[in-house]
């Protein structure tokens, strides 16, 4: 078949049943992305004879004689399409995985269409931005700027990869050609709990094109956890690469490696498995009760499971003071139970790994991960390899949100590569993302709280139960974190926490933006709102009376707890409360809908979060001067839309008196830096960034020293020792003499390292308020106004920070109102595609007014704090409180979907 792509003829064989997307990617048009492969997300959008289509559902057999245009055909970095330029100028992307499809789609818009964007972009999902910046891009708004030399920080500098992203040139995980590549497909368990009695792979192995079939008989015997942390002991060792016991539907039973995805998938159906069905449990309340089927009773102490005999991976019980006595004598009390649902990260790039052996026989894994070093170390542990024999790296990662702090595809690819010695790829489908990738932990949280007559908290008690699913990845850390900053932000003499993380035969839960805090904050902030009402206090005033202030201990249940968590001399919660309250008093927002059915309300909530993960987060970085005056930096942390790469460039450019375009960034590769714990816990700026700053200062000193030596040698004049030497673009200026970079490095390489260990830590704050209208006849919620104030310390890149806050808000609005992974009660996910899972669209997200507190953190780089997870956390309770204000009834379950709210109203 012959057709044209971007003006170039293509003569190809088309498989029956093939779609345009896979045909384009087979022919190295990697600018065409796979987000869903179902026509729902729009990442694969192209033009066919000028008409925009979703190439993943466009039958390839119809292409004869047609002309296809991709984002790469619209323009190139040297000659970009005006929209490509506009997306860069507006910072209209974060991870950028949706950008190609957005730009292709928007390239068909007329000027008038700009007024109809919610409708016209309903087929294009973006998980990162919250859409405001995409709106700006399409409407030609410039949000970025060029920073003056040496003053990059504090300016809205563009992401270095921007033009490559916008023109489809930036490589993501699988956007790369590997000759002789084999593909891996997995046979998933049809049962929620079963043991493999026998498995016959002969028919699959006999299929032409099949190279290898892997079963539990091939698996390393080393138990591990897919959840990754700095210390591997933070997660329970409860997982095998291939396990003869299956604990959730979809768990790997076997894997086939073949010369095509099609053959590999077809071969999985030829594997004959005999299962012994085991009793299963799907409700965490039942799972922890006596007599429940046990999931990991076969594991011993060494697996670090708190109580396998009660399906309990972790639990915490503690009290300070006497909560019962305090509640009994409080002037006002509140008690309630709140529930949060299972949520999918919905990163547009699915999990995927490509592995091969390099020329030295070293295993190389190119993967979609937030934590390449932790993956390397665990692969070494599981497969008994030396770290020198494994390289793990990422290209640009298409979204993470915690979902890629997991080892989900790398292990099975490693097994296949080591067996075959050939390159192997394993790519999740979108359905895999919904059915076997870890999700946000669903929680049931009961809160009891009391206050005295002046509205001062007397007691706060939290009872939390979470469904960690079939495996305990992040099931310990999320539990401890969930009750930490959520509880400790309030001062109360009596506190109690009971928390349990419980195994069930549902798919595993894992790390998700906010790491457990959001679920408990939803409950506590709702309870605080209610308590304020009962005390007759304004919700802002109630919080001012009860939140911790600088110098006060942050107490969960142990006032004597030794901690590295402090205030960093940068407390901004008071400012955030004032900023939001003042903003609410000024006019703004949408006009409320008219009609007697609409009820109006306002609500607020706050959140505190540590600026780094606990128990160490390490970054080793290097900065090197190159002969042309550019700097090359090596940093291990990954870019997945968090914007840390931009900030790293800014920090280095500022410290070395240059501009960010002179900074060449090598990143997220175990070959380019000694170590980095990874991109989680919002650590990219505050840990790796601080390490880079240290390296830059060290390099600047070394450059000055060498420049002075060179000048001394020239002039034979020791007096120059006292002359000022300054690092400037291109080298070092000593008096009126510019010692060039070439001269400097001629005497040997100039390279400095810088490290940071992630301690001590500080805290950041966010306050969100909403004004809403609720239709009491349908349950529809319209957000009239959305305001968030953030205490992020020094703002290093205002536009990027605004983007993180808007994106976190949008993701949280999805959690609060729309998104819900539904299970059938027997471990089967029934929402296994975007079309059944309401990831927010352009139409669903209001503009959020973003305000910054004015603080300077003495622990962060140049006074900055982290701000990636934090903006998510106060959103759901702020919305719930606004809805409560409107209706007089309090919603206590997420999502606050229209049908749930309608039912709540109807029940009175």
């Amino acid at each position: 078949m012959r057709f044209e792509v971007n003006g170039t003829p293509l003569d190809v064989e088309v498989e029956p049943g093939q779609v345009l997307r896979t045909l384009l990617r087979e022919n190295e048009h990697y600018e065409v992305k796979k987000g869903c492969d179902a026509g729902d997300c729009g990442a694969c959008s192209v033009l066919v004879d000028g008409d925009a289509v979703h190439s993943c559902i466009y039958p390839a057999h119809r292409l004869e004689g047609r002309s296809v245009t991709t984002v790469a055909g619209l323009g190139s970095p040297d000659h970009p399409h005006p929209l490509q330029q506009a997306f860069v100028a507006a910072a209209g992307f974060q991870c950028g995985f949706c950008t190609a499809g957005m730009i292709v789609t928007a390239s068909t818009f007329s000027d008038a269409d700009r007024d109809d964007l919610p409708r016209l972009l309903k087929g294009n999902l973006c998980r990162c931005t919250g859409y405001r910046s995409i709106h700006d891009a399409i409407c030609g708004v410039t949000n970025t700027e060029t920073a003056p030399t040496g003053e990059a920080t504090g300016h809205s500098v563009r992401a270095p990869a921007g033009m490559r992203v916008a023109t489809g040139r930036e490589e993501y995980t699988l956007d790369h050609t590997t000759t002789g590549l084999l593909h891996l497909a997995v046979l998933g368990s049809p049962h929620p709990h079963a043991r493999i009695v026998s498995i016959d792979t002969s028919a699959a192995e006999a299929m032409p094109g099949v190279e290898l079939v892997l079963t539990h008989l091939d698996s390393p015997a080393t138990l591990f956890s897919t959840g990754r942390h700095e210390s591997r002991n933070d997660d329970p060792d409860d997982t095998l690469v291939l396990d003869p016991v299956l604990r959730f539907r979809g768990q790997r039973v076997a894997a086939v490696v073949a010369d095509s995805v099609r053959t590999a998938q077809l071969a999985t159906e030829r594997i004959v498995v005999e299962y012994e069905l085991l009793p299963a449990v799907f409700d965490p309340e039942q799972a922890r009760a006596q007599g429940a089927p046990l999931l990991h009773a076969d594991k011993g102490m060494e697996s670090r499971i708190a109580a396998p005999e009660r399906n309990t991976v972790a639990e915490m019980h503690g009290e300070t003071g006497d909560v019962e006595a305090a509640l009994a004598t409080s002037a006002a009390t509140v008690e309630g139970t709140w529930r949060t649902q299972r949520v999918s990260h919905a990163s547009l790039e699915t999990h995927a790994t490509r592995g091969w052996l390099d020329r030295d026989g070293r295993l190389v894994l190119r993967t979609s991960s937030q934590v390449p070093y932790l993956v390397r170390d665990e692969i070494c542990h599981v497969f008994a390899l030396h770290p020198d024999h494994v390289r793990v790296f990422t290209a640009r990662v298409g979204g993470g949100f915690g979902g890629k702090q997991e080892l989900l595809t790398e292990d099975i690819v490693t097994l296949a590569v080591l067996r075959l010695g050939r390159p192997v790829q394993y790519e999740f489908t979108r359905t895999d993302e919904f059915t076997i990738a870890p999700t946000r932990h669903p929680m049931r949280v009961t809160v009891r709280a009391g206050a005295d007559a002046e509205g001062r908290l007397t007691a706060l008690a939290v009872d939390q139960l979470m469904d960690t699913g079939a495996y305990g990845n992040h099931g310990i850390g999320v539990m401890y974190h969930s009750v930490h900053e959520s509880v400790s932000v309030y001062r109360a003499p009596n506190k109690r926490v009971d928390a349990q993380s419980v195994y069930t035969n549902n798919l595993p839960s894992g790390a998700f933006r906010g790491y457990g805090l959001g679920q408990v904050i939803f409950a506590i902030e709702s309870a605080m709102d209610e308590l304020a009402r009962r005390c007759g206090l304004d919700p802002f005033e109630f919080r001012r009376r009860n939140v911790i202030t600088p110098g006060e201990p942050m107490v969960v249940v142990d006032p004597g707890e030794v901690t590295d968590l402090g205030y960093g001399n940068s407390y901004g919660l008071d400012q955030c409360l004032d900023l939001v309250q003042d903003a609410l008093r000024t006019p703004g927002g949408l006009t409320p809908p008219s009609g007697p059915r609409w009820r109006l309300g306002t609500g607020v909530a706050l959140a505190m979060i540590a600026t780094m993960p606990p128990r160490g987060h390490f970054a080793d970085t290097t900065v090197e001067l190159l002969a042309d005056g550019d700097y090359s930096i090596g940093v291990g942390t990954a870019e997945f839309g968090n914007g840390t790469t931009t900030v790293h460039g800014q920090l280095v450019a500022s410290a070395l008196g240059t501009t960010p375009d002179r900074v060449r960034i090598r990143q997220s590769d175990t070959d380019v830096a000694r170590y980095d714990t990874g991109a989680f816990g919002s650590a990219g700026v505050v840990v790796a960034g601080k390490a880079l700053l240290a390296a830059s200062h060290k390099l600047a000193a070394a450059m000055r020293e060498r420049a002075l030596r060179l000048v001394d040698a020239e002039r034979h004049d020791e007096s120059l020792r006292d002359e000022a030497a300054g690092v400037v673009p291109g080298g070092v200026r000593v008096g009126d003499r510019l010692v060039t970079a070439a001269e400097l490095v001629a005497a040997g390489p100039l390279i400095a390292d810088g490290s940071h260990d992630g301690t001590p830590r500080s805290v950041a704050f966010n306050v969100h308020a909403f004004q809403v209208a609720v239709d009491e006849a349908t349950g529809e919620v319209q957000i009239l106004r959305s305001i968030q104030a953030a205490d992020a310390g020094t703002v290093l890149n205002p536009e990027q920070l605004r983007g993180q806050i808007e994106g976190g808000t949008a993701q949280a609005i999805g959690t609060a109102l729309y998104e819900e992974m539904m299970l059938d009660g027997e471990g089967r996910v029934i929402t296994d595609a975007f079309r059944n899972y309401r990831t927010p669209k352009f139409s669903d997200i209001p503009v959020t007014e973003v305000l910054f507190a004015d603080t300077f953190d003495e622990l962060g780089p140049l006074g900055a704090k982290s701000m990636s997870e934090a903006p998510y956390n106060p959103v759901a309770p702020a919305l719930a409180n606004a809805i409560r204000d409107a209706l007089g009834i309090r919603p206590q379950e997420l999502p606050m979907s229209r049908d749930r709210l309608w039912r709540m109203i109807a029940a009175g």
Binding site: T22, V53, G123, M822, Y837, R838, S897
Partner: protein, 269 residues
Amino acid sequence: MDLITVQQIRVPATRDEVTFAPGERPLGGGTWLFSEPQEGLTGLVDLTALGWEPLTVTDDLLTVAATCTIAELTRLPAHDGWAAHPLIALCADSLLASWKIWNVATVGGNVALALPAGAMTSLMSTLDATAVIWTADGGERRMPVTEFVTDVRVTRLAPGEVLRALEVRTAALRSRTAFRRIALSPLGRSGTLVTGRRGADGETVITITAGTPRPVQLRFDEVPSERALADAMSRIEEWYDDPHGSPDWRRAVSTLFAEEIRQELGGAA
């Protein structure tokens, strides 16, 4: 997505070739077929090269070929007196699928797919359209679209039959209509879609789709009283249950919308 079990795609140019071997299915635009794994599917018979005229308008009849794309239908200009014309755009916009999908997806495909939220089914049911079916023996048969779709993903198509066209009387296009829709998110898949149509003779038809597993029509000789409509609505027994809305909510909002429509079409408040 690639349909990995498909071994052959046939593209007939004449009706004689429109036959189906076991495992073969008709292919319209393909936007749904290629969006989910299709178990047991071994072949596709592509109907889009048969040269069916997408839209034919006579004084009495609008004929929409099954292979007419949704984009083509939305570009159909209004003729004089077609008061119902805006329904075309309203229903197209009620599809979860965006306008990019409309460039490929067909009207017949959407109806034959028989999803409760299939908004082309909503449109054609509201307009009392007739489904024209090519029978396996080379003949043709007709039935109302409302009867054509019998359940979720179930139609009255027998093996070997294909949906050829949808016929809309222009009289229906000249009637007064009203439209209400809600989903669990602003532009989400419809939770319920309720329309009303009042003909020149006063006949008033309320059509419910998305909220019910199949199209439900309530027919009245004139605009009904509030009571008569409420009674008829309360007799609808089956409300759809899927991730896009609970049955009790679908019943409540459908009932609310039906009453709003009754008033909009001239019923006493």
